[in-house]
Amino acid sequence: MAFREEGRRMRLRRTGRVPPDARVRHYDELDDATQATVAELAGRPRTAPESADLEDGDVVKFTDYYRIRAR
């Protein structure tokens, strides 16, 4: 398992194409706190502390497909 850098923030970027090797998570798979974060960030130019339930590069299916960028 990869080590996570502390203190990173994540954002959700709408993505039109889902790579076959991407890990895709549906909103319903996420824990309550991550669901709240996804609903807050989706479609908005905002960031939030990185969620333990998501990794950089994951794609989340919510009202659209969103790619996670954690920096």
């Binding site: 889902v18 076959p20 090797d21 991407a22 890990r23 895709v24 549906h26 909103y27 319903d28 798979e29 309550d32 706190a33 669901q35 709240a36 609903a39 807050e40 794609v59 299916k61 919510f62 009202t63 659209d64 497909y65």
Partner: protein, 412 residues
């Protein structure tokens, strides 16, 4: 000698049980038996595959090497035909007998067929497995006109598939709105409008009296009870599930619209457990027996079952479930048991935003959020805490509602 665990079913509840058992009992023998021809996949993403939005690869969760790596004996394409609780063994369709110390039934359900003429014709689909999704995708891609039956959370997936695949569809509903047991007309109309925008027309006070087929036995129309005829070359039927309890018939295992389990996921037979859609479980939040078909609930039940298979009484299942619809450009979420209760409160909180909370004896038992999901965590917290909100229900409808807005005296 190590313990042996047999799990029947490799959906999310069976698979999460296998994962937990391997962690909790490193030396145990674990066997997973599934009648499907593929190992665990993401059942809540297969609708996206059928819509043509996702390739197959990301939908797989456990490839077969996962089972080797975790020393789990996976039996694909294997049907359990008998359970012998006296001798702690299951028998497969190939007459193989597999003994267990502890058994988990994660056997789910099977879509119900409409009890009407030609309900099994070519072109009429039910939606449960990945194989169903492949068949639906292939069929809908060649279709021009569709008919959808089943005004609930599964039926709307067919509406979204038709919309995404450019199929003009009629969504035949028996009542005057979609999911009328959980939504008022005002909330349902937001969903109806989203369907219309995608070329799916809700038809109310309708239903299917019979299907008509061509000379090759392929569906060509649905006829409603008023004789109205809707031409179609694709039909999707989602009217509910029959629980797969056949294999426990003839055993002492108690059933009641599923396999009855306690809060530890154990049946009335000491070393037989159940998890997932199949269970009729003791819902500690609701305070009565309940059923639930959501992904999160099934996963948690599998995990809890595994803990209790290793040490009975170690973990209780206490969970507030939720289920979202993400087909449209606004989110929809149901939580808890929105069709239950003796009272409800609802409001339109902004344009395109609507919420309804179902109450029983002054406590929240479920609800629906459309557009704005922000109160989800607060409502779930109130459910878990069994807070009495009598006299303060209007506060639940306020935009930006937080648990702190309620008077402290309502805490139990």
């Amino acid at each position: 000698m190590s313990d042996s665990y047999v799990i029947v079913g490799d959906g999310i509840s069976g698979a999460s049980a296998a994962e937990t058992l391997r962690e909790e009992a490193p030396d145990a023998e674990i066997t997973v038996i599934t009648e499907e021809g593929e190992s665990l996949y993401n059942r809540i993403l297969i609708k996206e595959f059928a819509k043509g939005k996702l390739p197959e690869a990301p939908i797989s969760i456990h490839d077969e090497s996962w089972y080797d790596d975790h020393d789990v004996d996976l039996r694909l394409n294997t049907l359990v035909v008998d359970i012998d609780v006296e001798n702690d063994a299951v028998r497969t369709h190939e007459d193989e007998v597999i003994e267990y110390d502890s058994l988990l039934l994660a056997i789910g359900g099977t879509p119900q067929q409409l009890p009407v003429e030609n309900a099994d014709a070519d072109g009429i689909h039910h939606f449960w497995t990945f194989q169903d999704a492949r068949s639906i995708k292939e069929s809908v891609e060649d279709a021009d006109r569709g008919v959808i039956v089943g005004a609930g959370l599964l039926g709307i997936d067919f509406a979204a598939i038709c919309g995404a695949q450019g199929v003009e569809a009629k969504y035949l509903m028996r009542g005057d709105s979609w999911w009328r047991y959980a939504l008022s007309n005002e909330g349902a109309e937001i969903m109806h409008e989203a369907m219309r925008e995608r070329g799916v027309e809700p038809v109310f006070d309708s239903g299917v009296d019979r299907f008509e087929v061509d000379d090759d036995g392929r569906v060509e129309a649905a006829v409603d009870p008023d004789g109205e005829r809707y031409e179609c070359d694709f039909a999707g039927v989602a009217i509910g599930l029959n629980m797969n309890t056949e294999i426990v018939e003839g055993t002492p295992i108690e059933t009641d619209n599923g396999v009855v389990v306690d809060e530890y996921m154990r049946t009335n037979v000491d070393n037989v457990f159940a998890a997932g859609d199949i269970t009729t479980f003791e819902d500690l939040v609701l305070g009565e027996q309940a059923k639930n078909g959501s992904w999160g609930s099934a996963k948690e039940q599998g995990t809890i079952a595994a803990y209790n298979m290793v040490e009975y009484g170690s973990e209780e299942f206490e969970w507030v479930s939720s289920y979202s619809i993400t087909h449209f450009d606004f989110p929809f979420l149901s939580f808890g048991h929105p069709t239950l209760g003796d009272d409800s409160v609802e409001a339109t909180t902004d344009e395109g935003e609507w919420r309804r909370v179902a109450l029983k004896d002054g406590r929240i038992v479920g609800g629906v959020l459309i557009g704005d999901l922000s109160p989800q965590s607060a409502f779930k917290q109130l459910m878990r805490e069994k807070r009495d909100v009598t006299g303060q229900t209007e506060l639940l409808m306020e935009p930006g509602f937080s648990v702190d807005d309620l008077a402290a005296s309502t805490e139990h």
